[in-house]
Symmetry: C2
Subunit: 145 residues, 2 copies
Protein backbone atom coordinates (compact mmCIF):
# COMPACT_ATOMS: atom_id res chain seq x y z
CA UNK A 1 0.00 0.00 0.00
CA UNK A 2 1.15 3.51 -0.79
CA UNK A 3 0.65 6.29 1.76
CA UNK A 4 -2.00 8.63 0.44
CA UNK A 5 -3.03 12.17 1.14
CA UNK A 6 -3.62 13.21 4.75
CA UNK A 7 -7.30 13.97 4.29
CA UNK A 8 -8.00 15.33 7.77
CA UNK A 9 -7.02 15.53 11.40
CA UNK A 10 -9.94 14.66 13.66
CA UNK A 11 -10.30 16.96 16.66
CA UNK A 12 -12.78 16.14 19.42
CA UNK A 13 -14.54 19.23 20.78
CA UNK A 14 -16.88 19.64 23.75
CA UNK A 15 -19.07 22.28 22.04
CA UNK A 16 -19.32 22.64 18.25
CA UNK A 17 -20.40 26.29 18.20
CA UNK A 18 -17.47 27.32 20.38
CA UNK A 19 -15.05 25.28 18.27
CA UNK A 20 -16.26 26.89 15.03
CA UNK A 21 -15.96 30.35 16.60
CA UNK A 22 -12.42 29.46 17.75
CA UNK A 23 -11.31 28.39 14.26
CA UNK A 24 -12.87 31.45 12.63
CA UNK A 25 -11.99 34.13 15.17
CA UNK A 26 -8.74 32.90 16.75
CA UNK A 27 -7.17 30.78 13.98
CA UNK A 28 -8.49 32.82 11.05
CA UNK A 29 -10.23 30.03 9.14
CA UNK A 30 -12.16 31.32 6.14
CA UNK A 31 -14.27 28.22 5.41
CA UNK A 32 -15.93 26.04 8.04
CA UNK A 33 -18.70 23.76 6.75
CA UNK A 34 -22.14 23.61 8.35
CA UNK A 35 -22.22 20.97 11.10
CA UNK A 36 -24.09 17.78 10.23
CA UNK A 37 -25.09 14.77 12.32
CA UNK A 38 -23.73 11.27 11.73
CA UNK A 39 -26.02 9.31 14.08
CA UNK A 40 -24.49 5.90 13.20
CA UNK A 41 -21.07 7.21 14.30
CA UNK A 42 -22.47 9.09 17.29
CA UNK A 43 -20.95 12.42 16.24
CA UNK A 44 -21.81 15.89 15.00
CA UNK A 45 -19.24 16.86 12.33
CA UNK A 46 -17.95 20.05 10.71
CA UNK A 47 -14.87 20.57 8.54
CA UNK A 48 -12.41 23.45 8.71
CA UNK A 49 -10.70 23.94 5.35
CA UNK A 50 -7.03 24.81 5.17
CA UNK A 51 -5.17 25.78 2.03
CA UNK A 52 -2.64 23.47 0.42
CA UNK A 53 0.25 24.41 -1.83
CA UNK A 54 -0.41 26.40 -4.99
CA UNK A 55 -4.09 26.95 -4.29
CA UNK A 56 -4.95 23.28 -3.82
CA UNK A 57 -7.20 22.04 -1.04
CA UNK A 58 -5.15 21.24 2.05
CA UNK A 59 -5.69 18.80 4.89
CA UNK A 60 -8.92 19.56 6.73
CA UNK A 61 -9.56 19.72 10.46
CA UNK A 62 -12.58 17.56 11.25
CA UNK A 63 -14.38 18.86 14.33
CA UNK A 64 -16.35 16.12 16.09
CA UNK A 65 -18.75 16.65 18.99
CA UNK A 66 -20.42 13.74 20.81
CA UNK A 67 -23.96 12.95 19.64
CA UNK A 68 -25.94 10.83 22.06
CA UNK A 69 -24.97 9.30 25.38
CA UNK A 70 -22.96 6.40 23.94
CA UNK A 71 -20.84 8.44 21.51
CA UNK A 72 -17.40 6.90 20.92
CA UNK A 73 -15.76 10.23 21.76
CA UNK A 74 -17.45 10.74 25.15
CA UNK A 75 -14.66 8.86 26.97
CA UNK A 76 -11.99 10.81 25.05
CA UNK A 77 -13.51 14.12 26.15
CA UNK A 78 -13.78 12.89 29.74
CA UNK A 79 -9.99 12.49 29.63
CA UNK A 80 -9.49 15.70 27.60
CA UNK A 81 -12.23 18.12 28.68
CA UNK A 82 -10.92 21.02 26.55
CA UNK A 83 -10.89 18.80 23.45
CA UNK A 84 -7.89 17.53 21.54
CA UNK A 85 -6.46 15.67 18.58
CA UNK A 86 -8.42 12.47 18.18
CA UNK A 87 -7.44 10.69 14.92
CA UNK A 88 -5.57 10.99 11.61
CA UNK A 89 -7.27 10.10 8.31
CA UNK A 90 -5.26 9.03 5.26
CA UNK A 91 -6.67 8.46 1.79
CA UNK A 92 -6.16 5.29 -0.23
CA UNK A 93 -7.14 4.44 -3.79
CA UNK A 94 -8.87 1.16 -2.94
CA UNK A 95 -10.47 0.61 0.47
CA UNK A 96 -10.75 -3.18 0.13
CA UNK A 97 -7.10 -3.55 -0.84
CA UNK A 98 -6.14 -1.38 2.15
CA UNK A 99 -8.28 -3.50 4.47
CA UNK A 100 -6.57 -6.65 3.21
CA UNK A 101 -3.16 -4.97 3.61
CA UNK A 102 -3.66 -4.09 7.27
CA UNK A 103 -5.37 -7.39 8.06
CA UNK A 104 -2.41 -9.31 6.62
CA UNK A 105 -0.16 -7.39 9.01
CA UNK A 106 -2.26 -8.33 12.01
CA UNK A 107 -3.53 -4.79 12.60
CA UNK A 108 -6.85 -4.66 14.43
CA UNK A 109 -9.60 -3.04 12.34
CA UNK A 110 -12.40 -1.49 14.39
CA UNK A 111 -15.66 -2.67 12.88
CA UNK A 112 -16.86 -3.00 9.31
CA UNK A 113 -16.02 -0.71 6.42
CA UNK A 114 -18.69 1.98 6.36
CA UNK A 115 -19.49 5.30 4.70
CA UNK A 116 -17.65 8.23 6.25
CA UNK A 117 -18.22 11.96 6.48
CA UNK A 118 -17.03 12.53 2.88
CA UNK A 119 -19.41 9.90 1.49
CA UNK A 120 -16.73 7.34 0.68
CA UNK A 121 -15.89 4.04 2.45
CA UNK A 122 -13.76 4.26 5.59
CA UNK A 123 -12.52 2.11 8.44
CA UNK A 124 -10.59 2.73 11.66
CA UNK A 125 -7.51 0.93 13.03
CA UNK A 126 -6.70 0.35 16.69
CA UNK A 127 -4.29 2.98 18.06
CA UNK A 128 -2.32 0.35 19.98
CA UNK A 129 -1.34 -1.24 16.66
CA UNK A 130 -0.68 2.12 14.95
CA UNK A 131 2.07 3.88 16.90
CA UNK A 132 -0.46 5.20 19.40
CA UNK A 133 -2.57 6.91 16.74
CA UNK A 134 -6.22 6.17 16.10
CA UNK A 135 -5.99 5.89 12.31
CA UNK A 136 -8.80 6.27 9.78
CA UNK A 137 -8.38 4.99 6.24
CA UNK A 138 -10.64 6.57 3.62
CA UNK A 139 -11.12 5.87 -0.06
CA UNK A 140 -10.32 8.96 -2.14
CA UNK A 141 -13.54 10.51 -3.50
CA UNK A 142 -13.94 9.72 -7.22
CA UNK A 143 -12.97 12.54 -9.50
CA UNK A 144 -10.81 14.21 -6.86
CA UNK A 145 -7.08 14.49 -6.41
CA UNK B 1 -4.66 36.59 10.88
CA UNK B 2 -5.55 34.20 8.11
CA UNK B 3 -5.32 30.45 8.71
CA UNK B 4 -2.39 29.12 6.72
CA UNK B 5 -1.32 25.74 5.46
CA UNK B 6 -1.22 22.85 7.92
CA UNK B 7 2.51 22.32 7.65
CA UNK B 8 2.75 19.22 9.82
CA UNK B 9 1.27 17.06 12.53
CA UNK B 10 3.77 16.40 15.30
CA UNK B 11 3.80 12.79 16.50
CA UNK B 12 5.80 11.81 19.59
CA UNK B 13 7.49 8.42 19.23
CA UNK B 14 9.39 6.33 21.76
CA UNK B 15 11.92 5.00 19.20
CA UNK B 16 12.72 6.80 15.95
CA UNK B 17 13.98 3.76 14.02
CA UNK B 18 10.81 1.82 14.80
CA UNK B 19 8.64 4.79 13.87
CA UNK B 20 10.38 5.22 10.51
CA UNK B 21 10.02 1.48 9.80
CA UNK B 22 6.32 1.73 10.73
CA UNK B 23 5.68 4.62 8.32
CA UNK B 24 7.60 2.93 5.51
CA UNK B 25 6.47 -0.67 5.95
CA UNK B 26 2.97 -0.38 7.44
CA UNK B 27 1.75 2.99 6.14
CA UNK B 28 3.57 2.86 2.80
CA UNK B 29 5.44 6.17 3.05
CA UNK B 30 7.85 6.72 0.17
CA UNK B 31 9.88 9.61 1.61
CA UNK B 32 11.05 9.86 5.22
CA UNK B 33 13.86 12.34 5.84
CA UNK B 34 17.03 11.41 7.75
CA UNK B 35 16.59 12.06 11.48
CA UNK B 36 18.42 15.10 12.84
CA UNK B 37 18.95 16.37 16.36
CA UNK B 38 17.55 19.66 17.65
CA UNK B 39 19.36 19.88 21.00
CA UNK B 40 17.81 23.26 21.96
CA UNK B 41 14.34 21.71 21.62
CA UNK B 42 15.37 18.43 23.21
CA UNK B 43 14.18 16.31 20.28
CA UNK B 44 15.35 14.10 17.45
CA UNK B 45 13.26 14.90 14.35
CA UNK B 46 12.37 13.21 11.05
CA UNK B 47 9.67 14.14 8.55
CA UNK B 48 7.34 11.78 6.71
CA UNK B 49 6.17 13.32 3.45
CA UNK B 50 2.62 12.86 2.27
CA UNK B 51 1.29 13.91 -1.11
CA UNK B 52 -1.10 16.82 -1.48
CA UNK B 53 -3.58 17.42 -4.27
CA UNK B 54 -2.38 17.52 -7.87
CA UNK B 55 1.19 16.52 -7.08
CA UNK B 56 1.81 19.25 -4.53
CA UNK B 57 3.56 18.61 -1.21
CA UNK B 58 1.05 17.64 1.45
CA UNK B 59 1.05 18.06 5.20
CA UNK B 60 4.01 16.25 6.76
CA UNK B 61 4.11 14.00 9.79
CA UNK B 62 6.88 15.22 12.11
CA UNK B 63 8.26 12.34 14.16
CA UNK B 64 9.82 13.54 17.42
CA UNK B 65 11.78 11.37 19.83
CA UNK B 66 13.04 12.69 23.18
CA UNK B 67 16.65 13.83 23.20
CA UNK B 68 18.17 14.17 26.63
CA UNK B 69 16.66 13.60 30.06
CA UNK B 70 14.74 16.89 30.21
CA UNK B 71 13.12 16.66 26.79
CA UNK B 72 9.73 18.42 26.67
CA UNK B 73 8.14 15.25 25.25
CA UNK B 74 9.34 12.87 27.96
CA UNK B 75 6.23 13.53 30.07
CA UNK B 76 3.97 13.10 27.04
CA UNK B 77 5.47 9.69 26.31
CA UNK B 78 5.16 8.69 29.97
CA UNK B 79 1.40 9.26 29.55
CA UNK B 80 1.36 7.76 26.02
CA UNK B 81 4.01 5.01 25.95
CA UNK B 82 3.16 3.87 22.41
CA UNK B 83 3.49 7.44 21.11
CA UNK B 84 0.73 9.70 19.82
CA UNK B 85 -0.35 12.95 18.24
CA UNK B 86 1.51 15.76 19.99
CA UNK B 87 0.94 19.09 18.19
CA UNK B 88 -0.41 20.77 15.05
CA UNK B 89 1.72 23.26 13.09
CA UNK B 90 0.13 25.96 10.92
CA UNK B 91 2.00 28.31 8.61
CA UNK B 92 1.65 32.09 8.65
CA UNK B 93 3.09 34.74 6.36
CA UNK B 94 4.57 36.89 9.15
CA UNK B 95 5.60 35.37 12.47
CA UNK B 96 5.77 38.68 14.36
CA UNK B 97 2.29 39.70 13.23
CA UNK B 98 1.02 36.28 14.32
CA UNK B 99 2.68 36.63 17.71
CA UNK B 100 1.03 40.02 18.18
CA UNK B 101 -2.32 38.57 17.07
CA UNK B 102 -2.31 35.77 19.65
CA UNK B 103 -0.90 37.99 22.40
CA UNK B 104 -3.70 40.50 21.85
CA UNK B 105 -6.19 37.68 22.39
CA UNK B 106 -4.60 36.68 25.69
CA UNK B 107 -3.27 33.35 24.37
CA UNK B 108 -0.26 32.08 26.28
CA UNK B 109 2.85 31.79 24.08
CA UNK B 110 5.38 29.23 25.29
CA UNK B 111 8.77 30.90 25.20
CA UNK B 112 10.46 33.10 22.63
CA UNK B 113 10.17 32.89 18.87
CA UNK B 114 12.93 30.56 17.71
CA UNK B 115 14.09 28.72 14.61
CA UNK B 116 12.19 25.51 13.99
CA UNK B 117 12.90 22.28 12.15
CA UNK B 118 12.27 23.86 8.74
CA UNK B 119 14.72 26.70 9.41
CA UNK B 120 12.06 29.40 9.79
CA UNK B 121 10.82 31.17 12.95
CA UNK B 122 8.25 29.34 15.08
CA UNK B 123 6.53 29.58 18.44
CA UNK B 124 4.17 27.36 20.42
CA UNK B 125 0.85 28.20 22.08
CA UNK B 126 -0.50 26.68 25.29
CA UNK B 127 -2.97 23.84 24.59
CA UNK B 128 -5.33 25.03 27.33
CA UNK B 129 -5.86 28.26 25.38
CA UNK B 130 -6.12 26.46 22.01
CA UNK B 131 -9.05 24.04 22.22
CA UNK B 132 -6.85 21.43 23.89
CA UNK B 133 -4.31 21.41 21.07
CA UNK B 134 -0.64 22.22 21.49
CA UNK B 135 -0.32 24.58 18.52
CA UNK B 136 2.85 25.56 16.66
CA UNK B 137 2.89 28.62 14.43
CA UNK B 138 5.57 28.66 11.74
CA UNK B 139 6.55 31.28 9.18
CA UNK B 140 6.20 29.92 5.65
CA UNK B 141 9.64 29.25 4.15
CA UNK B 142 10.53 31.95 1.60
CA UNK B 143 10.06 30.96 -1.98
CA UNK B 144 7.65 28.18 -1.08
CA UNK B 145 3.89 27.86 -1.43
Amino acid sequence: MKLGRLNHVGVAVPAMADAIAYYRDVMGAEVVTEPFAMPEQGVLVAFVNTTGEAGTAGTQIELIEPLGADSPITAFLARNPAGGQHHLCYEVEDIEAARDWFTAQGKRILGPTRIGAHGTPIFFLHPKDMLGQLTEIMETPRGQH
